[in-house]
Symmetry: C2
Subunit: 354 residues, 2 copies
């Protein structure tokens, strides 16, 4: 951050305090405010930022719960008439619709933000200055947003080590409905089905369903907020998924194998559209399964062997089977690395299964 500029962070939860910490670590002048005096005092201690009294502010970051964000932005346009203003809420449209209804002056100074820290766990672990390191941070502007306001938010994002992605408000909300909120709804519903199932059925569960419902562990209060703020796009997308599932069920009941195959192939193709590591395609990787004694040190030994073979692991997955003292580890590597890795592992006395 440019010296002499003052940033005000309003709201001292996990995200607000982490922003304050990250900025003070880079020598920025950061002030904090919160309606909860005790939370504020704690955040000041943790972050090294100062209590806001009446300093001149050049950038306001609103990090309060989603439902309060628009009102606090509106107040900030009046209290800080020269400041650029951003927020960190994970849904943007509802905030900007409320701002329009409030009829505020100064929309040019407001740019939405969404740090995508990508965790399904909520804030209990506490603030970290490097929480945003290497994470995408969507900068969501409106037609009214000025270039200077966008630049100020971009500077904030980069100071915190995140990388900026530019989208409009609508693009952002439709995108997160598709790639974040609907998967949350589907995972929660799928996991909910297990509440109605026999225990003897669930015992057969493997890695497939485990991955499919992993994010069903998310914090229910936080996600009620998030889903409610973006309800229109999510309801559209979830309804479409439900209808496609009913189509799938019909194809199964009708014994229409051609249709079943077409739907599975469409899933194959859709998955391939996900960005891979470093933005590359996912196509060129292959998998090795290795059996491992379940004791400290075996994984380290495995990765030492991979490192000595000069093989870079794209992904690692530990696959536990019910009641077994040993584990299977799936290693995903570039296709051309398989011929290096497999003999190296076998030379290291690992059991390579496939």
């Amino acid at each position: 951050m440019t010296q002499g500029k003052n940033t005000l962070v309003i709201g001292t939860g996990l995200i607000g305090t982490s922003i304050a910490l990250g900025l003070t670590a880079h020598g920025a002048n950061v002030f904090l405010s919160d309606i909860d005096e005790i939370a504020l005092d704690n955040a000041i201690k943790v972050s090294g930022a100062s209590k806001y009294t009446a300093q001149d502010i050049s950038l306001v970051v609103v990090a309060t719960p989603p439902a309060s964000v628009a009102k606090i932005i509106a107040a900030a346009t009046i209290a800080h008439p020269l400041a650029f203003i951003t927020d960190v809420a994970s849904v943007k449209g509802s905030i900007f619709r409320e701002l329009e209804q409030l009829g505020i002056i100064g929309l040019d100074r407001i740019v939405g933000g969404h740090p995508m820290a990508g965790r399904e766990v909520s804030g209990a672990i506490g603030a970290q200055g490097n929480l945003f390191l290497d994470r995408p941070w969507v900068i969501a502007s409106t037609e009214a947003s000025s270039a200077q306001a966008i630049a100020a938010v971009k500077e904030l994002v980069q100071t915190l080590g995140a990388f900026p992605i530019f989208r409009t408000i609508e693009e952002h909300d439709r995108a997160v409905a598709l790639i974040s909120h609907t998967p949350q709804v589907v995972a929660s519903v799928m996991a909910g089905e297990l509440m109605e199932a026999e225990g003897s059925y669930i015992e057969l569960a493997g890695q497939g369903i485990r991955d499919t419902i992993r994010i069903a562990g998310s914090d229910s209060a936080l996600w009620t907020e998030i889903l409610s703020e973006n309800s229109k796009y999510i309801a559209q997308q979830v309804t479409q998924v439900a209808n496609h599932l009913l189509d799938f069920a019909s194809a199964l009941i009708d014994g229409d194998r051609e249709s079943v195959t077409a739907k599975l192939v469409k899933g194959n193709q859709g998955r391939e559209r996900l960005p891979g590591k470093h933005g590359s395609s996912q196509q060129s990787t292959s998998m090795l399964v290795v059996r491992l004694d379940d004791k400290p040190g075996e994984l380290a030994r495995l990765f030492n062997v991979a490192a000595q073979a000069n093989v870079n692991l794209e992904d690692v997955r530990i696959d536990h089977s019910l009641g077994q003292p040993t584990g299977l580890v799936e290693l995903t590597v570039a296709v051309q690395s398989i011929d290096l890795l497999k003999p190296a592992l076998e030379a290291g006395s690992f059991v390579v299964i496939s």
Copy 2:
């Protein structure tokens, strides 16, 4: 296997050949047959088993494509009047319904089997004698199955290093509809939605959707077979999921936050019913996120530090962000290990994010 007993494996694909390999490695007498002479010759070379001519057989393992299994079992009851007979198809009810329709004699000698190798990739990599090591293998009996037949299949399963799980035919098929087949349908449909989405939306995809649709990469021909064989239970379960999704969409449209929260909480609870490592609950783990330079050796160094701190990793996940040269690694460990692992990693110059 008891010496002197002869096992016949019919069908020399990945599973059949892997069974033959695993058995010959334990000194069993194994014979192979296949209508494809070239495939048979290859499997004999790979497995060290012998070509079946007209030996006395005590156990027949049918490892042919699902649609042919019942007819081949029926033929085996006549050709091998003293043998016990099992199969490896992933759906059981359709086979036993067909056997009943065929009116065969000797149902007491037949026991269904389902090795759950738990991989979404299909057989291209080739047969391995240890493919079943530490994997569950469901032994699915009917009311007609004799105790001796069940014992013979159990011996097969244990010789191959798998662990037997006993279920009825119906329990098995309902269970796999819930925990394997419906997740496949849902993942495929969810991934299919990405075919209708803007590329700019998909670029924001994170680990959540990546996990949710991972199994959408499955082989479409193989899964068309599997889903078609178990279509009744899957269609029921998929329809129920679709209806629950429509309920969720309604709750969102109605702004019924209480209902949204209840559905998310049900998902939390359902996920906790999944068996954890060694059959333990999933409750008692916690997660650390570590930043890692994306080069060979860093993962090994990380796991060395964990091993030296005497911390056992329950799970590992490499979280790639779009276009970034570094990676974030999520380590899941027992709650009480966090206080050991975090300082050890920091002492090893790793950036621990949360």
